[in-house]
């Protein structure tokens, strides 16, 4: 059976798609509301951008492990390691904090939090180092005495490699929007999240076949869980 020409492109597209968002969009928010003082949590997440594979649309199965510690009731420090990146010979970690801006301890049960991170990368092949700051904000609403939570927000990475090595790195920022649901128990949190990554980016005329909204950006879905101590 002859393979249509388009499928040859898709082969290379899938591989590159895998790669492109490996580093940029590999985890859900996980921590939307700060931990309590001196509370710790470890987390794991799975999910990624949506790709077409054998005619089906599936999320790229990226994995992350994370750790968080409540400095105060309003501030939590966070760190994550990209385990899928390691499989590519790329060490990836981020370090940052989550800060409560408006407490949800009010009648509406709506709160706002913000976060700042720095992502670090180093590969074993050419020792190429990159770092990218990220800023983000979450608006969340709790239900059922805090056992359920819906949240939405936005974040952006910032380019740090200037002058541009390529024309494409003239992009100063890489925004993302997210909406999610968090199921909370005393010990566990479970996150289900949808992201719209790089909505400002036209996904045509490039080597990857993004599944975005219209011709803009790409969508990703994620699942995360954390265990609190």
């Amino acid at each position: 059976m002859e393979r249509p020409l388009k499928s040859y492109y898709i082969l290379i597209l899938n591989g590159l798609l895998w790669a492109i968002f490996l580093l940029q969009s590999c985890s859900p928010i996980i921590h939307v509301k700060p931990l309590k003082t001196k509370q710790m949590a470890i987390s794991a997440s799975l999910g990624g951008p949506l790709i077409k594979f054998s005619g089906l649309v599936i999320p790229v199965p990226m994995t992350n492990l994370g750790f968080a510690y409540g400095l105060t009731n309003k501030t939590t420090i966070t760190s994550n390691v990209g385990t899928t990146s390691l499989a590519f010979g790329v060490g990836q970690m981020d370090l940052g904090f989550l800060r409560e801006i408006i407490s949800s301890e009010n009648k509406s049960k709506i709160g706002i939090s913000g976060f700042a991170k720095t992502h670090f990368f180093l590969d074993k092949w050419k020792s190429q180092f990159r770092w990218y700051p990220e800023l983000g904000i979450n608006v969340f609403k709790e239900f059922k005495e805090g056992k359920n939570m819906i949240y939405a927000g936005a974040s952006t990475w910032f380019e740090t490699k200037f002058p541009a090595e390529t024309s494409t790195s003239k992009n100063v920022w890489m925004p993302m929007f997210h909406v999610g649901f968090q199921k909370r128990t005393e010990k566990w949190n479970f996150n289900y999240e949808l992201k719209w990554i790089a909505p400002q980016m036209n996904n045509e005329k490039i080597v990857v076949d993004y599944i975005g909204i219209g011709s803009q950006g790409t969508l990703g879905i994620y699942f995360g869980l954390s265990r609190k101590f």
Partner: protein, 282 residues
Amino acid sequence: MSCLRLDDNLFNPDKEINSYQLNDFKGEREISDLPSSYVVDKNLTSIFTLESNDNGDKARIYAIYVGDKNRISTDTVILYCHGNKANMDVYWNRVKLLANVGGKHRYGVLMMDYRGYGLSEGKPSESGLYADVKSCLQWLKENGMSGSRLIMYGYSLGCAPATRLCAQNDILEPSKLILEAPFASAEAMIQDASKFSLPGSYFVNLEVNNAEQIREVDVPFCWLHGEEDDFLSRKYQGQRVYDNYKGPWKEAHIDPKAVHNDIPSKMGFQNYSKVLLDFILR
């Protein structure tokens, strides 16, 4: 423990064939709208094998020559390096088109399947690409070819060996270089897609860099690209190659409606042929 790498994604060969079908090929092919008038003489079409040696990794590769092999010592020949898809059947119409530039069989055309493509042995690799095209240059040389009558033509993936072997070549130095829809580098493809400064080494070990290699090319250069190229953008890929060329002559032909693989069709076959003929004769 070995790591995941995406190098193999550069290659999309199809080895599921028992023979080359050429005119009888029923699959989807490049420039499928080529008029039937662009025929070539069957008696002037030869399929043969060459031994390619990539630093000791030997492979028997298949090649097609369209033209009189007995006149290679006097003819001008276009060495066509095809793209990353399938095998030579897909590109057969392109060879027929080139064999009709300036009139039927005015120029000889040589095309090969890189190792791992079609009936060619082995597994595709970046170094294998260069070795395979070098084996074609060696064959041409042994048949009396001189560099002054050799035109190197690279299309998409084929731009890598075409550019490399115009820049660094101890067998035959082509007299002119034609690149159709070139990519700047493996890293540029990644950065083009990510829109961020991610190093290529995060994903691939490929060293291919046409945008840098072109700096070493000192023969006339013709660049063809589609403004609507939806695979390798004109602006972020081909333009960088063109801008970095510092040789004696360069010309660009950007078709406003062409995508990645239909430049001859969108330009019009006569216009495309005239562009090539004018460049070859200049």
